[in-house]
Symmetry: C2
Subunit: 352 residues, 2 copies
């Protein structure tokens, strides 16, 4: 079969890890007789540097016309400490999410047995953890009105949610739970926020249609504690945009394997796949960044295109690399030498 894949390498280590994912996709194309047509596009700090726009129109068009998007990472320190900059790399990603309607961000967090020694948590707490976080991605305070008063003394951010925005991701979360351990935990702050109360009411209503799935509620402050105290209690976590940003990043490090975590951002017409780790500017161009999360993003992308067997081939290759200890420095065992980004990518591609 033939697919068009938009590739947005982005900033920092984005380009080098995305290259390894492309190697894996090429190996899949060879082995399973597919054609992947890559359309490279720019977004983020690199796009600002070249065009002044963090999301050039051309990038948006390429994405709209492709079957799926493979994305690297975004962000550059030169923009972070400049609160008055009016153009910032993140605006590119936020606008892309909004324009393509990528409302459902899924971040699986899995504690790989081989990597548990790297976890900051004690083994008995983390072992067996397997969570899917469903984060709403195109609403809430991220996209509310923003104001700075004329005298620059008062700033404002608005946060709103509609029943419709809440419902569509809620259905996806419950459907996912049906194929997992059949539990959804809604994370909110319903004791304080009006939007959270609408989430609780809407989700409670929808839950009645999924009788095989149980629903629990957790205030976001409590969720931040439970994620450390007992992460195994979670199956599917459902939450709004900002809480999802915080809780999923917290969750991403508990397994000691952030270098392996991929994510998908799904809309009705488009789908984007990216590693959870950011642009990690310190490692840029050094050929040391872990490419596995990007490679596993490619596997999620194949799964999304309906290519199950092909996705599994990538996952098997990744597991093999872990078992053999052909890994980058960040996750290596005491007994192994570490391999470079590109060596790991080559191994995965060969194995496929």
């Amino acid at each position: 079969m033939k697919f068009t894949i938009a590739v947005i390498p982005g900033d920092g280590i984005g380009p080098e890890v995305t290259n390894q994912a492309k190697k894996a996709l090429n190996a899949v194309a060879d082995t399973y007789n597919h054609v992947f047509l890559y359309k490279e596009a720019q977004m983020g700090a690199c796009a600002i540097d070249e065009t002044g726009n963090p999301l050039p129109e051309e990038t948006l068009n390429i994405c709209k016309k492709s079957d799926a998007i493979l994305f690297g990472a975004i962000g550059d320190p030169k923009y972070d400490n400049n609160p008055t900059a009016t153009v910032r790399p993140e605006q590119g990603l936020l606008r892309l999410r909004k324009e393509l309607g990528l409302y459902c961000n899924v971040r699986p967090v899995k504690a790989y047995d081989q990597l548990i020694a790297n976890s900051p948590l004690k083994e008995e707490i983390i072992k067996g953890t397997d969570i899917a976080i469903f984060r709403e991605l195109t609403g809430g305070i991220y996209f509310g009105i923003k104001e700075l008063s004329d005298d620059k003394q008062v700033a404002f951010d608005g946060c709103s949610y509609s029943v419709e925005e809440i419902s569509r991701i809620t259905h996806l979360a419950f459907q996912a739970a049906q194929n997992r351990r059949k539990k959804v935990t809604l994370v909110d702050k319903a004791n304080v926020l009006e939007t959270s109360r609408l989430w609780r009411k809407t989700v409670t209503e929808i839950a009645k249609k999924y009788k095989d799935v149980s629903l629990e509620f957790l205030f976001v402050d409590n969720a931040a504690m439970q994620m450390i105290l007992n992460p195994k209690q979670f199956d599917v976590i459902l939450t709004e945009n900002l809480f999802g940003d915080i809780i999923s990043d917290e969750a991403s490090v508990i397994g000691g394997s952030i270098g392996l975590l991929a994510s998908s951002s799904i809309g009705d017409k488009s789908a984007l796949f990216e590693p959870i780790h950011g642009s990690f500017p310190q490692a840029k161009g050094k050929d040391v960044a872990n490419p596995l999360a990007s490679i596993l993003s490619a596997a999620m992308l194949l799964e999304h295109l309906g290519l199950h067997e092909e996705a599994e081939a990538i996952e098997r290759a990744v597991e093999k690399s872990l078992v053999l200890g052909i890994t980058t420095e960040d996750i290596k065992n005491k007994s192994n030498f570490s391999a470079s980004t590109s060596k790991v990518g080559d191994f995965i591609a060969d194995y496929i």
Copy 2:
């Protein structure tokens, strides 16, 4: 000396732990020749049950007339899963904070060596952690406008911050840092929120007046990761209301000693002291709850009244109870029997 102390036991285990704190205060009064006049007042679910109001006017008046407030905990499960309830226990606490102008919430997080075995984190990561979290407590999305559209399809929460609100707590945070390890970390989401950008700008400006203190910035999602990966990097954390709620709760469990963490909420005219743990309804009335956080809240209260020696007497007694292993079940060593809430309170009072 003579002081009036408002005592708000609140809900759940609030009353039983507050009682132990009063025992400690009484012992201090005897030993150091002070008079503490307690004015008991109601707030929370118990106040709703009796008066229909989570913060009766009488309670507010008692608090306004007292030198300091000792508070237990608030919240009851019967309100949590009822998003349409118009009267909720939390409203009492939020209104009290606002009415008394308690804008600066300080939550110290310390990893006690004796309790490190209880931490979910590995010892090498947690040992030595000592953080003071400064959370803004009377602004932000907690107190913004809240709306539900007439057709109940769209909910809204407004979040605003003024330079003035940001400035007053920032000064307190930097002053605290001067007496500590001289580092302030501002936690925000300046890559997305207008209010965060105003925080970053205002804090950067104020930092110039504290040349001996260094200032760092961290996005809240990254902060949630760093709190687990390397909590020792933090000295003073400064943040807005909602981020402070989440990050401080996350931080409270990493030391394995949430049962020992006290907090203060300071305004220009009033000050309130409370344990960080909540109302923990499951343990209510069972005489098993850990009273140390409430007892250490009383020590913070004395410190606030200028009674340093007296505060230290309580702290020493608490340390002694840990060394001797006279502790409640939650923090006991394998080798000790556990003591009841009131037994621990009695020991502390006797030792003082």
